[in-house]
Amino acid sequence: MSDKNNKIPFNENNYTHNINRNNERKLDRRGFMKTLVGAAGVFAVSSLPWGAIAAKELSGLSDKKYPKKKIADLKSVAVGDAVDFHFPGEHDSAILIRLSEKKFVAYQNACTHLRCPVFWEKDKGEMICPCHHGKFDVETGAPTAGPPRRPLPEIHVKVENGAVYAVGVKRYEA
């Protein structure tokens, strides 16, 4: 190759002849570290909304109130027994379990895996989904075994003059 394009044409009045742009775009160690720090910043910022929404859920802001609905008379549910009912809508099946004299728990009983109905196994003391043997903790609704990974939506109940009422849902899942 000839050298004719590689000559500096003038000696003094060329103000750019000493600018060396070779390797200008090379990613050196410093630039690479800068990129990594920037990535850490992006991760940090994008974590914020998740934390915020989770905090909102924890604070109970998304609990929903519904007109209270009678589930059953106190007398008709023996300790350790369960009653099926519907709340808040007509087609949202739910289950009420009497754990002790005073303690009632209620959940929407569509399994959080594939929505099969969940049953109360009295002698095992746990809630079981027959479809794929998912199990739920009866005190909290948290999944303890099998495919479901989300807790059953809890229904708030209240005992008032001899009857049990459903008053709200922790998070409504239709």
Partner: protein, 63 residues
């Protein structure tokens, strides 16, 4: 002084942790374990100043 690649390795480790925490955070969110979600988010946020400190220390070691 010879340039050191230890900070680069540390920053890559930070990036790895970022990825792990982010995935954990998203999964725990969908499993509705909101406390774990918040913990993972906080960890992700404090990784940023750590990364920045590693960078600050690292660039002084001559480029």
């Amino acid at each position: 002084m010879k340039r050191s690649y230890v900070p680069v390795a540390l920053l890559l480790a930070v990036l790895m942790l970022n990825i792990i925490f982010t995935q954990y955070m998203v999964h725990q969110y969908f499993y509705q374990n909101y406390m774990n979600t918040i913990i993972a988010a906080v960890l992700n946020v404090i990784l940023f100043p750590i990364a920045f400190l590693i960078y600050k220390k690292g660039v002084n070691v001559n480029d």
